[in-house]
Symmetry: C2
Subunit: 238 residues, 2 copies
């Protein structure tokens, strides 16, 4: 495929750019266990993330009004703290714990490779995470976006087509001038429906050592890469 | 005033970050005169910019539907080309000329000082320019925002309060945690109404050698600075 028309790359963030699971386990075990959140952190991280799809769907179907991911993460956190009978946290503690999602660490290839990709193309997030979360996370991780794009700006969550359409429109581009980069086939297929190019990046440990999903890219994706540096190589970006 | 609560700085762009007048005159004289746009470029730049406030007000009052600045710039450009009886440009030429507003050069202090300010605080644009324009302009000028915020995201133009309110909300901050930086008292006063801190930066040549407006900061602004490096100095940011 000819990528000469491409002017921007939009990136899924949770799992594709950042290792949400490893980051939450690490902060949990190092900080929160001692503060009384004495749980099995891998299981806690998985449950927290596990509540995300269903709660977003309650927004997508109209059962809940529009809420950003900070608010959805907090709903799920409150349920989890209840379920684990953890009662000793102050409100300030809970706010801070909920913001662990603003402090997720990038995969090791991200920071240098994004700078590389950015030399040729606009690089933008395109995440269900809210703008503040994405801004804080990039500062935490030490990488830069040309533009922070978020489901929050469309008032729709991925994979609704409005998210991709609004991203292309805000960048002043046609969908075929944008590559969606993700470790998830569902995100890529939804962006392709709207006319985006697609790049699958392997993140086989996103869900831990026993991951079963998104280990194999869909046959329809335009590029498959091992990581972001390999993606730059395949696009011929030095 | 104590600025220890400040977490983000939002920047007006046209005139505050970039020298729109000098940039348009330069590209006009060096590129467009030879292509048949044989006009007095300082006068042309002033007229183009002069149409901006009135056309935005037609959107603000509801006389025109929401249009982004690219579209408003194009409306004004078409009127100016008509008035000067310039008929030789193709549609592609006009699109490219209209995008001179994406290729404005920053004032000399901007690139290094923004990197400095960004070490301590979130730095974000907060401009009536549309997102694509702001993204392309930052890449052209070689500086980086943590976040591109625009009137386009609020569906309102400054000085409507919705623009400032939505900016603070998207950053997940209270208004008093944000400093608005601008070379224009009107912008600063409107942000202050919403609860922002305010920093006036002198740009006494924005409108050319005979500028008469915004030469003196309003007495109510919180900080006055000669340029962005002076602003960093005054905030104690090394």
């Amino acid at each position: 495929m000819d990528f000469s028309e491409v002017k921007a790359m939009t990136f899924d963030v949770f799992g594709t750019v950042v290792d949400w699971r490893g980051s939450i386990i690490s902060e949990g075990e190092n900080v929160w266990t001692a503060k009384g959140v004495n749980v099995d952190w891998p299981e806690f991280a998985d449950s927290w993330r596990g509540g995300y799809g269903p709660s977003m769907n309650r927004v997508r179907t109209g059962e809940l009004p529009w809420m950003n991911i900070d608010a959805l993460h907090r709903l799920i956190l409150d349920e989890l703290l209840d379920r684990h009978q953890i009662a000793g946290l102050t409100e300030a503690d809970k706010v801070h714990l909920n913001k662990v999602w603003h402090r997720l660490n990038p995969w090791p290839d991200v920071t240098s490779a994004l700078a590389r990709l950015r030399k040729r193309n606009i690089v933008a997030s395109l995440s269900n995470g809210n703008v503040a979360l994405l801004v804080n996370m990039a500062r935490h991780g030490g990488y830069s976006w040309d533009c922070v794009l978020s489901a929050e700006l469309a008032g729709h969550y991925k994979p609704d087509p409005e998210v991709y359409q609004s991203a292309a429109s805000l960048l002043g581009l046609e969908p075929h001038e944008v590559i969606m980069v993700a470790a998830h086939n569902g995100d890529l297929m939804a962006s392709k429906e709207v006319g985006f190019r697609t790049a699958f990046v392997h993140r086989p440990r996103e869900f831990g050592p026993n991951q079963t999903t998104d280990l194999v890219p869909d046959a329809s994706v335009d590029i498959v890469a091992k990581d972001f540096n390999d993606l730059a190589d395949r696009l011929g970006i030095p």
